[in-house]
């Protein structure tokens, strides 16, 4: 289900509403609206998060979105995404 026209908040038709939670729990969860074509990097930038330092996922370890991956087709309206810091193993 996607958002229909809302007189108070402008036209949100075709947008999906998501809740972004931060895995560390130190930042408050944020609601966002995304349109078709929105990538992980677009959303992170909108949240003032450095795209090199953060990633988005569905909360499970194997469900992390790539930086250029389009989020819109992969998430449902009212869905939940998790933002977490980038960690890289290295010697």
């Amino acid at each position: 289900m996607t958002k229909k026209r809302n007189g108070n908040n402008g036209n949100t038709e075709g947008l999906k509403r998501l809740l972004v939670k931060f895995v560390g729990g130190e930042k408050e969860p944020q609601e966002v609206l995304i349109g078709p074509g929105t990538t992980t990097a677009d959303l992170l930038r909108e949240l003032d998060l450095n795209t090199n330092n953060f990633s988005l996922g569905k909360g499970q370890a194997d469900e992390v979105f790539g930086a250029d991956e389009a989020l819109y087709p992969q998430l449902d309206d009212g869905g939940l995404v998790y933002a977490s810091s980038q960690v890289i193993a290295g010697q």
Partner: protein
Amino acid sequence: MGLFTNLTKKFKKKPVVRVITPQQPKPRIVQPDNTPLYVKRGWAKNGNTYHGYYRTRYGAFRGEITRRGDKFNVYIFKPPVEQIKKHSRWPCFHQGRNDKWRIALARNPNDGDISAIIIYVERIIIESFTR
């Protein structure tokens, strides 16, 4: 008869009637749970050290993460070595004593969030089994 009628009238109780005005149920706004992921996953903090399990569909592996300022020492006990050997991050696993392996990090979470480390190690385990 007249006396009985008078007494009945005198002691006749008035029925108790109370009109309850219907109240609109107050909307309950449920706030999203903001518990850190490491707490939800059952990791416990003891000083600067966290203990818990890296949980994947391929098994749960005991872990330990120690914080030293903005750096983290990450350990896993009895990891699935045969699988992880196939992973590109295998050289970052260093065997210590008693099946305790250290996972060297090139990049630590910049917000000091150990939940990100837990997710990352779980991802390596999952990738090791699926590649």
